[in-house]
Each structure stands twice: as structure tokens, then as C-alpha cells.
């Protein structure tokens, strides 16, 4: 009797610590943030002392040109980063998908940029982009080409390049894994039927990889909205607001402008945006999966 009670309680005992911690440090803060976003709240007050202002923070933000600018920068950054990284990463995977000796060493080198702290990545790139001592402008100088003001006029492009450097390997490794787990029969059949390499890629490899690619793109997209440290170290959001992505603006609103309520409302906007994107990608994924299954069935029929 005692024993069976213990057994029945086991799963709950195993789950309890995780649930308690996540409720306390993840769910409760999120709820707290939503509550706080309706208040005029500064860091020296407790939330109870802050005045309730209803939707004021949200409305202020809705009409705030700085917020629009920042939102635009975030979307632009996320769009370019994900698109370029997907094209490069998948392209490289298709190109390098053959038996090379020492592929594991190669992969090790490629994951290095991802493992290093974003702060350090920002530091390295800030050095390389430096107008006078930086690597790029030195190289341009020695080639006799006029210098480029990397972190000035082209700041957004420069942070996009840095992010591409750091995260293309992620997509490369995932798509290579996907590519190498494709059913060989389909590729074999296509080759026997005389499909050119291009036809193989477009009609067989890419459609079959699609589910993985979608998930990869989704993960990358989510992470693109989280990038903060790299940009903070490289440009601190400047010049002007040209690289101030939302995450950075939230942290500045909270720490510099000391408007926790507004920062919370901004966080909520960001969360809603991400939620919409995730749901959209999931729906798309479902649809693609059914389509991919159909393609696969067709390919197998042809065998």
C-alpha cells in the first residue's frame, strides 16, 4: 500500500522542481510584466505603488516614431539575416555534401563562431570595423580603395554581416545533417532517370529537406529577435537609431529612461510579434509537410 502510493507520487516528485522553478522564474515574471505594462512605473517604485494608467503605455508606443523606427530596424535585420543565412547555409551544404576527408574537423571550425560569447563577437567585429585601426579599412587602404565608414553610414549592413558570420554555420550544419539523412532511393532513381545535378537539387533534395529547413529558419528567426549583445557592443544602437533593435530599445527604456511600464509594454508588443510569426510558421510547416509527403509518395511511385 505504502509502496504503491510512493510509486504514484514518483512522477510528481520528479516533475516538481522543474515546475516550481519555471513557474517562479519564468511564468510569474511574464505575468508580472503584463501587469506592469498597464502602469506608470519607475525603477524606484514597487509595482504596487505605481499608478495604474490602463492602455496608455501601449497607445504612447503605437504613436511613437522612435518605436516605429526601432521596429522597422528589427524587422529589416531579422529579414535580411534569415534570408541571407538560409541561402548561404543551404547553398554551402549542397555544395559541400560529398565525402571529404576531415569533415568533422571542418565542422568543428564552423561551430566556433556560435559558441563564442556574443559580447566577444561584438568586440572582434567592432575592432575589425574600426575606422582607422580596423582590419577592413586597413585592407582597403593597402589596396588603394577609399575607406568605408562601416559602423557609421553602413551600420545596419555591418551588424548584418557580423550576424551572418556568426550564424550561417548553424544553418549549414543543420541542412547538411538533413541532406545526409535523405532517402537514398529517391536520389538514386533520379540519377538513373538522368536528372542533372540542378534538377536533383530543385525537384528532389530541396523539397525533401523542406520540413527541416522550415524549422531551422524558424529557430533562426526567433533568435534574430534576441540578438542584443553583439549590437550593443558594436554600435550601442547608433548612429542615431539606425541599429537600435527592439531588444536594445527595451533595455534602454528600462535602464536609461527608467520607464519600466513602457518597456514592459514594448516587451509585450515584441512577444505578440514573435507569437504571430511562430504560429504562422507552424501553420506553414503543417501545410508543407502534407505537401512534402505527397511529393515523396509520388517519387516512390516512380521508383
Amino acid at each position: 500500500m505504502q509502496r504503491s502510493t510512493a510509486n504514484r507520487l514518483t512522477p510528481y516528485m520528479f516533475m516538481a522542481p522543474a515546475i516550481v522553478i519555471m513557474a517562479l522564474a519564468l511564468m510569474y515574471p511574464l505575468g508580472y510584466m503584463i501587469w506592469g505594462s498597464f502602469r506608470d512605473w519607475n525603477p524606484s517604485q514597487t509595482i504596487g505603488e505605481a499608478e495604474f494608467v490602463g492602455l496608455k503605455n501601449y497607445i504612447t508606443l503605437w504613436g511613437d516614431p522612435n518605436f516605429h523606427e526601432s521596429l522597422g530596424v528589427t524587422l529589416k535585420f531579422a529579414f535580411f539575416v534569415v534570408t541571407i543565412e538560409m541561402v548561404l547555409g543551404v547553398g554551402l551544404a549542397l555544395l559541400l555534401d560529398r565525402d571529404i576527408r576531415g569533415i568533422s574537423v571542418l565542422r568543428t571550425m564552423f561551430i566556433l563562431p556560435m559558441m563564442i560569447a556574443p559580447v566577444v563577437v561584438g568586440l572582434m567585429w567592432r575592432y575589425m570595423y574600426h575606422p582607422t585601426v580596423g582590419t577592413f579599412n586597413r585592407t582597403l587602404d593597402s589596396l588603394g580603395i577609399p575607406r568605408v565608414d562601416w559602423l557609421g553610414d553602413y551600420a545596419l549592413m555591418s551588424i548584418i554581416i557580423a550576424d551572418i558570420w556568426q550564424w550561417t554555420p548553424f544553418i549549414f550544419i543543420l541542412s547538411l545533417a538533413a541532406l545526409q539523412s535523405l532517402p537514398r532511393s529517391a536520389l538514386e532513381a533520379a540519377r538513373i532517370d538522368g536528372a542533372t545535378p540542378w534538377q536533383q537539387i530543385i525537384h528532389i533534395k530541396l523539397p525533401l529537406m523542406m520540413p527541416v529547413l522550415i524549422v531551422t529558419a524558424l529557430l533562426r528567426l526567433i533568435d534574430a529577435f534576441k540578438v542584443l549583445e553583439v549590437i550593443l557592443v558594436m554600435t550601442e544602437g547608433g548612429p542615431g537609431l539606425s541599429t537600435e533593435i527592439l531588444a536594445l530599445r527595451i533595455s534602454r527604456t528600462a535602464t536609461e529612461f527608467r520607464e519600466l511600464g513602457v518597456a514592459a509594454a514594448m516587451s509585450n508588443y515584441l512577444l505578440i510579434l514573435l507569437l504571430l510569426l511562430t504560429v504562422a510558421m507552424f501553420a506553414f510547416n503543417r501545410w508543407q509537410e502534407t505537401r512534402a509527403a505527397r511529393v515523396q509518395a509520388l517519387v516512390e511511385e516512380d521508383d
Partner: protein, 311 residues
């Protein structure tokens, strides 16, 4: 999947060499610069020929060195202390996350709490939350709500022992930072470990149970040894996030609990950057992840692909 007609040609290897150069180049550049004097960095006398010096490292680590380097007049950069803080926080939060996450993943798989889909969906949802979004609530809660009253029993005892004013709060302690890191990493760890535990044959556990092992013994003696690769992957990812994170740590730490990323950012934002020293601190911060990468790249790739490819 080498097709017979694609013989490896020089151009192919050139592409690979270029890629390797591009991904490793900046790291090597930083490594080289961390051994240069600022004068050499700024004058830019050719990249690789220079007299290496460890002055930058001495300057960065001046608070934990056993001797006093002559070129350091005043130890402004308390890097050693920050390094120790980073180590404490990253190690403890990794261990806690693994233990708690492992137990939860096991319960989820074996006792059929929720479907696999629910877990992956909620993992994705949590993964979606940027740290910046947590900044405001965590700052507020850790400073105002997660406190022990200074007049209370435990809070009073802590104030008597350690001094200080006001209520005893989580903000500014190692524990506060560890708590948020554990919470942030748990969903991902549970997700990864789950995909490994699913592969442990149930019959193995039943055999152990027939032999008289209790649920905890089954878990520790049978399941844990079998999912070591998963544990390694989860450990590396958790450690990496805890070690590299800046934003939440900067909101929650005080002078004594500062971690390395905070120190680097603080020194960067000044107008006149001392490149040599800052590169040395950056290199020191990058060393543990680099070591992991070199020795456990297989586990890292497992961890990365487990999510996306297995779905």
C-alpha cells in the same frame, strides 16, 4: 553521397579553405591582438610579425595575480573576480539545470504526462521569449518581491551576519542570477533529454525493477548512464548560455557579483578603448567555449540537430 562525376577539384578545396579562414580568422586576429601592445595595434605594423607580450593579460588579471607587474600602476580592471563569479554562476546553474531537467524529462517520457508535441511546443514558446523581455519583470521581482523581510527571522539573521541595509533580496546575489538561468535553460534541456530518454528501451528498466530497484535507483543506475551523450550536449548548451549571457546578469548583479561579459561591455562603452586589454579579456571569456568546441564538437552538433532534425 559522393556522386561519381563530382571529383574533388582544386576549386572545391579553395572554397573550403576560404570558409575556414573566414570563420576562424576573426578569432585568430583577436588572439594575436591580445598579445600586442596598444601601440602596435594602433600603428598597425603588419599583422603577424610582432613581439608577443603578456602585459595585457597581466593588466586584466591584476587582482588575482600573486605578483605585481611593474607596468600596472592601479588595478582598475577587476577581471579575476568577475571570472570567478562567471565560473560559479555558470557551473552551478549548469549542474542544477541538468539535475532538474533530467528528472522532469524522465517523468515526461516514462509516466506519459503530456504528449511529446505539447513539450516541444512549449519549449518553442519559451525559446521564443527574448531575454530582453524578461529584463523588466525580473528586475522588478528580484529587487522587490523575492525578498526576505529585514525584520523577519532569516532576513534579520542574514543582515546581522553580512551587514548591509534594507531587505534581503535575490538581486545582487549569485543565487538570483543562477535562478533565472536555470529557468531559462530548463525547457531546452528537458526537450533534448527527452529525445534521448525515449530511446532507452523500457524492458531494461523493467528488468531492473524486477530485480528490486526502486524508481530512483532505476533512474540513477540504469537511465542516466545510457543518456550520457544527451547530458553532455545539454550541459554544453546550458553552460554556454550561462557563461555568455550579458543582459540579465547586468540587471541583477551588483559590484561583487559582476560577470565577465558585463565587465567587457562596461569597458567597451568608454570612448578611449584599450584594445589590447579588452581583447585579452575577450579571449579569456572565449577560452572555455573554445575548449568545449574543440573537444566536444560531436555533442554540440548532436544538441543542435536533435531539435530541428528529429522534430
Amino acid at each position: 553521397m559522393a556522386s561519381p562525376n563530382t571529383k574533388a577539384n582544386p576549386a572545391f578545396y579553395a572554397v573550403i579553405a576560404l570558409l575556414v579562414f573566414m570563420s576562424v580568422g576573426p578569432v585568430i586576429l583577436m588572439f594575436a591582438n591580445s598579445f600586442k601592445l596598444d601601440v602596435d595595434i594602433i600603428s598597425g605594423s603588419s599583422g603577424l610579425i610582432f613581439l608577443p607580450t603578456i602585459q595585457n593579460y597581466e593588466k586584466a588579471l591584476c587582482d588575482v595575480l600573486w605578483y605585481e607587474p611593474d607596468h600596472v600602476d592601479f588595478c582598475s580592471l577587476k577581471f579575476g573576480g568577475a571570472f570567478i563569479n562567471s565560473l560559479i554562476i555558470a557551473l552551478i546553474s549548469t549542474v542544477l539545470t541538468l539535475v532538474i531537467g533530467c528528472m522532469a524529462a524522465y517523468a515526461l517520457v516514462r509516466f506519459r504526462f503530456m504528449g511529446r508535441d505539447t513539450v516541444s511546443l512549449s519549449t518553442l514558446m519559451v525559446r521564443m521569449v527574448p531575454p530582453a523581455v524578461l529584463l523588466v519583470p525580473v528586475f522588478g521581482l528580484w529587487n522587490n518581491e523575492f525578498c526576505l523581510d529585514r525584520d523577519g527571522l532569516i532576513g534579520g539573521a542574514i543582515r546581522d551576519t553580512f551587514g548591509g541595509r534594507g531587505d534581503v533580496c535575490l538581486a545582487g546575489t549569485h543565487g538570483g542570477i543562477i535562478l533565472i538561468y536555470v529557468a531559462m535553460n530548463l525547457p531546452f534541456v528537458i526537450w533534448i533529454l527527452q529525445s534521448f530518454i525515449v530511446q532507452v528501451p523500457r524492458s531494461l528498466e523493467e528488468a531492473a525493477r524486477v530485480d528490486g530497484a526502486g524508481p530512483f535507483q532505476v533512474f540513477f543506475k540504469v537511465v542516466l548512464p545510457l543518456i550520457k551523450p544527451g547530458l553532455a550536449a545539454a550541459a554544453i548548451f546550458t553552460f554556454r548560455i550561462a557563461w555568455n549571457e550579458y543582459l540579465l546578469a547586468s540587471a541583477l548583479s551588483d559590484r561583487d557579483t559582476r560577470t565577465v561579459p558585463i565587465l567587457i561591455v562596461n569597458n567597451m562603452s568608454e570612448f578611449n578603448v584599450e584594445w589590447g586589454v579588452i581583447m585579452a579579456t575577450g579571449m579569456l571569456l572565449a577560452i572555455p567555449p573554445i575548449i568545449f568546441t574543440l573537444f566536444a564538437s560531436r555533442q554540440i552538433i548532436t544538441g543542435m540537430t536533435a531539435g530541428a532534425v528529429k522534430g
